[in-house]
Symmetry: C2
Subunit: 584 residues, 2 copies
């Protein structure tokens, strides 16, 4: 090795050792015949010292002229530092250098390589390899590494077999848009990249693999958003001979294991909530339960008192912001403007302050007596000093708007502490959801999810009411995993495709192999998949999944570092039997 030690490991115990270190020049200082160089590698920083008299004059000169990010190899002796730095583990020692070799020079980097940088996002994306040199960025990928290793340890310990499923598969119209790969050998035909290994993992259950997992890249050609990438990583799992409870237990175990091993935290009980309750109480199928502030319906108390906005509303919802009665006029105006923004879309905001003297002050005092407001407060569980916020309108919009307002108030009141983790299982999702655009039902989870036995009779009468054996794991308001007990017989699967508007021929051509497999002895089975990028981001305490991906693409799906996508040669196009035909 071009080193005897890393830049992170020498301590006072190593005094007088002759060592060789290699790394990057973080910083050079010199003063009165002395020069110091902070040498950095992945493992830490160690100070090199060059003393006039003690070293050859050329060496001192070389040291003082080293540029930032030069790669050097230094040989010397470990000595005790005069002024110790207790902020870094190596801060008690330094290396008195006797030999120094420049292994590679460096141009001045386009942005500062420190925890705080002056580089804008596009610049840091273009020079991602330099951004990755910053400790705060590399540590995120180290966290990801740890999460991967610990996930595998747990899964292996639970007898799950890691099986790689193919990347070159078949395009199906179900779900999001596929990325496709033209076949050269079979001109005019295409492979598709998997959106998930769903059908393959189900086939592995038919194969009797019993417990399968994989940490696997998946692909979706969707229009990108801040937290979406065209390629993303999933922890993908499937088990046989289980019911929902078994799956929840095994994967609570995984989440617990990760918190213990990676964050040193013991999770308490993981709460559970039905989809129905989540929507009723929080207007959201992934509620953040780090704080309460549940919705209360005020229709019965607030209608018929002459306030026409409420009287004509389908739904009137209140939340109680504890201790927020001290919100100023200005703060309340800001909140009102906030809910009226197009992204939220509320018409207005009603508030009720529960004053310390027991009286109430509201924005609708004209219509409601103190008695009326007291009844609201009682229903909302509001006490002196609390602030009730009320939205109204159509049922669907109001729940959505109130969910946003609740999260906003959680933020404003400091109830969404990133160091607190409150996982939640959301259960009993609907099987189908109505899609206005195509005027048909879509599978809420995917077409392989089984309906609850007790709801089967509703499937023809009232399909939207049928609940599925489907579950999501939510942490702090972020969905990090979801799964279901699957259909495992051909008849139910065919019926499901029928309800989703597939013709028999379509179902057969796209999923015939799966339905045929079900005829050869398919066991009851179910599974789950976790969004691994997002899981890492949650563990790391940040919102952007992109930070946890070594080489992410930008919002236009472009890798600006290698400049991809790019054009290919005419020969390649001919070989692939393709012509480019740009849209107008």
């Amino acid at each position: 090795m071009l080193r005897t030690h890393t830049c992170g490991e020498l301590r006072l115990e190593d005094l007088d050792k002759k060592v060789i270190l290699s790394g990057w020049v973080q910083r050079v200082r010199n003063k009165g015949g002395l020069a110091w160089v902070d040498l950095r590698d992945r493992y830490g920083v160690t100070q090199l010292i060059f003393e006039e008299g003690a070293v050859a004059p050329e060496l001192l000169k070389t040291a003082t002229t080293l540029g930032r990010e030069y790669v050097v190899q230094a040989e010397g002796v470990v000595i005790e530092r005069a002024s110790k730095n207790d902020k870094i583990p190596t801060g008690s020692i330094e290396i008195r250098v006797s030999e120094l070799k420049i292994l590679n020079k460096a141009k001045v980097p386009p942005f500062i390589i420190e925890d705080e940088t002056d580089g804008g996002e596009e610049l840091r994306m273009k020079y991602r390899y330099l951004d990755l040199r910053r400790n705060v960025v590399r540590e995120k990928l180290q966290l990801r590494h740890r999460m991967m290793q610990e996930t595998r340890k747990y899964m292996d310990g639970q007898d799950f077999m890691e099986v790689e499923t193919p990347v070159l598969i078949k395009s199906t119209p179900e779900g999001a848009r596929d990325f496709v790969v033209p076949s050269r050998v079979h001109g005019g035909e295409f492979y598709a990249l998997p959106q998930s290994p769903q059908t393959f993992k189900q086939l592995l259950m038919v194969s009797g693999f019993d417990r399968y997992f994989q940490i696997v890249k998946c692909f979706r050609d969707e229009d990108l958003r801040a937290d979406r990438q065209p390629e993303f990583t999933q922890i993908d799992c499937e088990m046989s001979f289980v019911d929902q409870e078994d799956i929840l237990e095994i994967f609570e175990g995984l989440v617990r294991h990760l918190f213990t091993k990676v964050k040193g935290m013991e999770l308490g009980e993981i709460e559970r909530m039905t989809y129905e309750d989540a929507m009723r109480l929080y207007g959201n199928d992934k509620p953040d339960i780090r704080f309460g502030m549940p919705f209360v319906e005020l229709n019965d108390l607030a209608q018929g008192k002459g306030f026409s906005i409420f009287d004509s509303a389908e739904l009137i919802l209140g939340i109680n912001a504890e201790g927020a009665a001290n919100y100023t006029r200005k703060q309340l105006d800001a909140l009102t403007n906030w809910v009226k923004r197009p992204q939220i879309g509320a018409k207005g905001l009603v508030y009720v302050k529960c004053n310390e003297d027991g009286s109430f002050k509201s924005s609708v005092d004209k219509f409601y007596s103190q008695e009326d407001l007291k009844a609201w407060a009682e229903k909302a569980g509001a006490k002196k000093g609390d602030l009730i916020l009320v939205l109204s309108g159509s049922e669907k919009d109001t729940r959505k708007q109130m969910s946003e307002l609740r999260l906003k108030m959680g933020d404003e009141l400091g109830l969404r502490d990133k160091s607190v983790y409150r996982p939640l299982w959301v259960l009993d999702f609907p099987l189908l959801e109505w899609d206005e655009e195509t005027a048909r039902y879509h599978a809420m989870h995917h077409p392989f999810t089984s309906p609850k036995k007790e709801d089967m009779e509703l499937l023809d009468k009232d399909p939207g009411k049928v609940r599925a054996n489907a579950y999501d794991l939510v942490i702090n308001g972020v969905e990090i995993g979801g799964g279901s007990i699957r259909i495992h017989d051909k008849e139910t699967q065919q019926m499901m495709f029928r309800h989703l508007g597939f013709t028999e021929e379509e179902a057969q051509s796209q999923f015939g192999f799966l339905m045929e497999a079900f005829e050869f002895g398919a066991p009851p089975h179910g599974g789950i998949a976790f969004g691994f990028d997002r899981l890492c981001a949650i563990f790391g305490g940040t919102d952007s999944i992109r930070d946890y991906i070594a080489f992410p693409k930008n919002n236009a799906g472009r890798d600006v570092m290698i400049n991809s996508p790019s054009s290919i040669s005419d020969e390649q196009l001919v070989e692939l039997s393709l012509d480019i035909k740009l849209k107008e």
Copy 2:
């Protein structure tokens, strides 16, 4: 769970326990009021017993009518078996069943699901999920799972960080043909699937990640052969601040770890050989060293004696097949025909039998005296009872042919025992190889491999003579890994591209980002990649990598199970700005 135990875990200690098992019906037998069912899952087989009188008559009837591969759940009590079966771990007990539930029926499978099957390859590929039910097939994937877990344990223990590199990258003309992925958002542009994460792992070294690994899917759109798949898996590794010796050591460690943990074998010393010696002694850059039989050059002894074939040959090579003097006329004729097959292409085969009485019998007795032949035998190290085989012709062809013949003789003489493992490092590969077709040099490894310092001066004078800091790991004649110390400065990299016939513009547009990265402080680094599918096959003792892939493609690159590749819709083509233009 739909079971209390698996079908592989009950023993005599469990007598009288009330248990529930779930699994597949392997076999049903019945005789005089008794029925037995072998119930199978991933973990083993357990016998169920149904006794007339002891169970309800319907139950006995159900049991006798169960079809093969039905999925059933059986409840009952563990009892001791009257006639024990010591071939299976559960063979001392059986389950006296009190309740039986058919979880799913099964059609008669298209082939027998036992270790020995009657299914042909295409049929088993189409119903791969049924083939995977066979123990012998599933065990191969269990081995693969174990190999993955142990590889990660070792690498993690050596401070390597697992980093996922992108799958959607950029097409480059270097190397094999890329699979490409049309971009919808950037019409007319394409991503490419990686042939390896080479440039990304080098960038991670520039980022200071120090030690990187990944078990990663790679893609090559090449014409397929029996042991090639369009998608394959690599253990991909890179390290900074190392020289070749460090890499050999770390990865000998990996191979040792895998042999110990997965096969319970301790490997001895791993031998090393230069490329030059490998070619000279075995005509092969991946020699099988489970046996000797090195080449000896006989030009000096065999030329000038009137045998025109030898006299006009560039090279005359012999090998000594120990103990094979008893080969019959028929066997020798068969060998001669074998070397004359077009795949081998030799013109003929000369043999010399070293008889037990000290005399020699050869196919060229007309031209060579006993003294002549004795000299050959001495040079070849042949003793009484041995057989010398001689080929001649051009240097290149003869080495290649003799390499094949040597392996063939190794097989015939039983010297290639699959339970014996002899790994070998082949070192000092040439940097470049001349390509007749394009009349230019190609990188033997890849264009990022560094030349040996001491050979640098040859680069302009005699490029074919320059040796690289490149190494392959070979086990039993199979190349399972290869790597190199990389170039880490822009100038050398540019020079290398020049030697490979890149214009400056081509080098810049394809690898500009890498050369720019080298300017910002790139550390000396090197790495290696192992063919994971092949490594698993070697460990499993079989030749076909396809057996170690859960869902492989056939020789035409087709997945016959899901029927892929396939056509996509016209809407998809329009969205992707593509037209299909089939070749004539």
